[in-house]
Symmetry: C2
Subunit: 137 residues, 2 copies
DNA sequence: AATTATAATGCAAATAATTGCAATTGCAAA
DNA sequence: TTTGCAATTGCAATTATTTGCATTATAATT
């Protein structure tokens, strides 16, 4: 990966924001410094940075895929299908399990920002996620 | 969820194919029985079936999201970034870990087809996934 | 500094997926 | 059955993302 200004600015933007940004948000930020920037350049740079392990790429149910800088303390998330709540999961529990998977399958896991969907306590009590239908087997 | 023919045919298509199909493939299949079918109807029906837990939705790195019927024996996958190899992971190891996550966070995990990316043994030996850059901290 | 090979970019076009809205349909209550 | 409501659909427009190709820029080599 070459040291282009786009790579640099995107990484800087994600590191500074410390949150999940979608491609358009990254584009708008970086465009302030590189006015001639093209959206497809951003998509390609994001893909590059992700493959290099410098950022994470995740579908968190927000319509567009979101990106985040992968810093010293990794983390993961639980996202509620009912209310959209995002719970952060430390890396300890995840790393340990990944190690098990790796050991059992001769495979090196690179996923650096796992997102699991489900239902939070509040939504579960409201009955969310209990959809039934006439089709049940 | 109502018992519409679209819901029925989509579910049947996915159950019969026993593989991962993308939205366009599902559309083509079902359209043979419902010629006036519209793609957006398929997307919406797929979303519905997924929310009801009858099918899984996953990005397996094929460009388009893929869907699969969730049958009796659940499974998950490891996908190699280097060569695209897809390794199937039984549900036992996954279910156990999900239970841990659920217990620790008052959250009911609904993810029914987990996909982890990484590098297979062969690609690891070829040096894939070892990309370095001039930027290393 | 000039040359070369290849990675990165811009642009336009293609593909994938979502959304608003009016018309239709399934389902259940009357 | 008939009626009424809400879920579902088609269609067009919008948004999100990818891709082909010609051009430009980076970094190594001469
Ligand atoms: Zn995060
Ligand atoms: Zn919730
Ligand atoms: Zn599968
Ligand atoms: Zn591989």
């Amino acid at each position: 990966m070459r040291t282009t200004s786009v790579n640099h600015f995107i990484l800087e933007t994600l590191q500074d924001s410390q949150t999940h940004l979608n491609a358009h948000q990254v584009y708008e930020q970086v465009r302030q410094r590189l006015p001639s920037l093209n959206p497809s350049t951003v998509y390609r740079a994001l893909e590059r940075l992700a493959l290099a392990g410098k950022i994470s790429v995740s579908d968190m149910g927000c319509g567009a895929v979101v990106y985040e800088a992968v810093g010293g303390c990794r983390h993961h998330h639980l996202v509620c299908h009912g209310c959209g709540a995002v719970i952060t999961l430390g890396d300890d529990l995840v790393r340990g399990w990944f190690a098990q998977v790796e050991a059992g399958h001769h495979f090196q896991v690179a996923t650096n920002h796992l997102v699991l969907f489900g239902y939070c306590e509040a939504c579960r009590q409201k009955g969310e996620g209990q959809e039934q239908s006439l089709w049940e087997a």
